[in-house]
Amino acid sequence: MNRTLLTVSALAGTLALAASPAQAQRPQYGGNLEIGTVSATISALSFDPGDYAWKTNHDNLHFETLFAGDLDKSIRRGGKFSFKPDGWVAEDALRGELAETWEWKQDPLRVEIKLRKGIMWPAKAGVMDSREFISDDVVATFKRQVSSPKAFKDYYHYVDKVEATDRHTVTFFMKEYHADWDYRFGWGYYSAIYPHELVKAGAGNWRNAVGTGPFQLSDYVQGNQQVYAKNPIYWDSDTIAGEKYKLPFVDRVTYRIMKDEATQHAALRTGKLDILEAIRWQAVDSIKKSAPQLQWAKWLNYSGVFLSMRVDTKPFDDIRVRRALNLAVNKQEIVKEYYGGNAELFAYPQHPDYIGYFEPLDKMPDAVKELFTYNPAKAKQLLREAGYPNGFTFKTQVCSCSPDNMDLLPLVAGYLEQIGVKIEIQPLEYGAFLSAMTTEKHAAGYFMSNGHTNPTRTIHKSFTPGQLWGPSLWSKPEYTKKMDLAYATKDDGERQTIMRELTREVLAEAPYIWLPVQYFYTAWWPWVKNYDGELRVGAVKPAPVYARIWLDQELKKKMGH
């Protein structure tokens, strides 16, 4: 990827200001870090992990999980991991967070987790006194998560029981191996460990929030800000230039909640934000021009765009029709002209960051490669063979909440019209749009963005029966069986092989018109140090990233902010 190139050119502009002291500078403590996060438009959905709101790790900087990505293995520190995917950490990028070590054992199948000793829950008035974090906390959390009335059915079906073996050891007894075991209760969306005192005081009330994490929630104004103050007794440290520093560096992290894009950009430009994590490519040029000192990184969206075709309706039950529609859309032209190069032709359903699972287009079989070429003549021929020499008309639903998709769909419709296929566009409001799919009442065409999540879930949730996020309704019994096999395979390499085969197969089946995936940009001011645009070290889990950032407050002053 050319992100190094990008950072270099951005740096060149700031050389005069920032470069000279950058190498030898000693980290500083203190300051307020103001962030427009990836989810800057939405306030917390819930502070209670038992509510199973997807954003819970993002909003609960005060909670920690058993495992987390190891930032020492980030690209910035010479490693190979970007730490940007929203729901995935590679197995070899993991380290223990609340856990010190873990080990798989047989007969019965179980994983034994040794917890770090000496981690303390901070005191919180009206909720709890400071005390040590112990194995019972993990067990109690797990039990509450499983029995929550909002829990997903069978989410932990592979777990037999969880026991506190001793004060600092927890054992998960498994019915069978499950590839997502660490994701589901180790570093996933609903993996936060919280004290039973919090449950008693009311976990849904933000005023009660308390955890072992680097920051503690100190103020919350719905629709405006979430303020997190430094946890002075946080256990973790970072080693910079051979020296060990206690974390976190900054006194306060503030999430600025801003619904309006223009407002976000204005706040970044004027230094009211230190970091803005998600900027659409459309706005990048104008921000660069007006604030040339900003540092930049880009990330390929962790969400694919496609036009799904319901395979249980005519004419999409015919693979020739589905492939024809793919051939009729000039995807290279979309990347080049519509996105102005800010997109990748091929990055869904697997994401290039998914090392070991992703295969680039040139390694794909011809049946897949062909789908990404523009060949309207062949498309017409396929339609003729399928019995639609004059094309046809079909209805496509799209969410009016997504300006990008509302722009893109007419573009796709324009291409299809050239082979005689007409789209009747039906925009729906967010809730209505989503519910059409989850209740399977959606139209033959369904134009959406769907998160990759992680390398297994990305095709599991879309192409196996009984799932919510598979608008094409494409599935095959053998395919499902192979998918189950992948989930039960413990060996990473073996599982990756199976998943690669499954990916190739579904790509060629063309249940979707596969479309390019766009880039997003992260920008930050040069006074933000020990940071290179990393976004998460677990499922929407940014706390360790923010804990390691320090602010060069003199530079900030010198730059007039």
Partner: protein, 318 residues
């Protein structure tokens, strides 16, 4: 007067009953219910959550009329508007956090509107059909004609590009730091106020024109009483009626908030709260906000109607 008041208050009951039924039923008719939204949180889970389990938890498994009577009963007998289905915070508490800000922004906007409208209205009446009249009115109407979100965006974006400044986005409660609080609300209040000014300006102008045509004024003018003193005196007395009318007309904004200004200037007000509740299908919040805003607006209008009687002896209540 007392009979009138009692009649108006009694008439509130059917009004609110209609309103509550309409709102209660309507929000549940929005396609894509809260269960669908909650279930689709499970992007990453293995299977479907039990629909029935969630419906039961949220009390949505009962027939709608039972839900309605339970809801209205709790409000009438216990003053309990229920809690958010997502956040478990009580609706009253959420409104309590937002309403003061909305109210404040609304009043600041009204204040701006009057400062702009009354002088222009008076001036354009005195100088009817002159360039001064046209210019003054044109300004006021132009402000009405510019879409608020466009104005707001320009104020947000261009100063940040040209001079590196942008309006504050950090909300500070009034009693913590009144200055910081004011400086965030000032710009949206200015935009909102100037766009509201056209209505009041028109009203003031018409009233002034009427006053100026009265015989006693003409007589006074003929007698050589100073024009300025007279205009000021009458303008002030007559300005009160447009003020009161404006409050009545803008009551929904005063209580219900202005989604657009709140969104652009990051004001945590009622408008955005309701918009978010609608998009999350948080039924108790939507119905609670509607009901409270509705009651408040109706009451404000009642007070407005009553105050006409104090301001203008010609008005009689029937």
């Amino acid at each position: 007067m007392r009979a009138y008041l009692i009649r108006r208050l009694l008439a509130l009951i059917p009004t609110l009953f209609f309103a509550s039924v309409i709102v209660f039923a309507t929000v549940r008719m929005i396609p894509g219910d809260i269960i669908d939204l909650m279930i689709s949180q499970n992007d990453i889970s293995a299977g479907k959550t039990d629909r029935e389990q969630l419906e039961k938890l949220l009390g949505l498994d009962q027939p709608m009329y039972i839900q309605y009577f339970r809801w209205i009963g709790n409000i009438l007998f216990r003053g309990d508007f229920g809690s958010s289905l997502w956040q478990e915070q009580s609706v009253i508490a959420e409104i309590g956090e937002r309403l003061p800000t909305t109210f404040q922004l609304g009043f600041m906007a009204l204040f701006v509107a009057l400062i702009v409208a009354v002088p222009i209205g008076v001036w354009s009446a005195i100088r009817q059909d002159t360039w001064g009249d046209y210019l003054g009115r044109s300004f006021s109407i132009l402000m009405l004609a510019v879409p608020g979100f466009w104005m707001g965006t320009m104020v947000m974006v261009f100063p940040s590009i040209w001079w590196g400044i942008s309006p504050p986005v950090k909300f500070v409660p009034f009693f913590t730091d009144p200055i910081a609080n004011f400086s965030q609300l000032l710009i949206p209040a200015l935009i909102l106020g100037t766009s509201l000014s056209a209505i009041t300006m028109r009203m003031t102008r018409t009233m002034m024109l009427e006053v100026l045509r009265q015989d006693y004024i003409r007589t006074a003018l003929a007698k050589g009483l100073g024009e300025r003193g007279m205009v000021v005196r009458h303008a002030l007395r007559n300005a009160l009626i447009p003020v009161v009318t404006l409050i009545g007309l803008q009551a929904p904004i005063l209580i219900g908030g202005t989604v657009i200004m709140e969104q652009i200037f990051v004001v945590p007000g009622m408008g955005l709260m309701l918009l978010e509740a609608v998009s999350r299908r948080d039924y108790p919040v939507i119905t609670g906000v509607f009901l409270i805003v509705g009651v408040a607006v109706v009451l404000i209008n009642l007070i407005v109607d009553l105050s006409y009687g104090l301001l203008d002896p010609k008005v009689r209540y029937r």
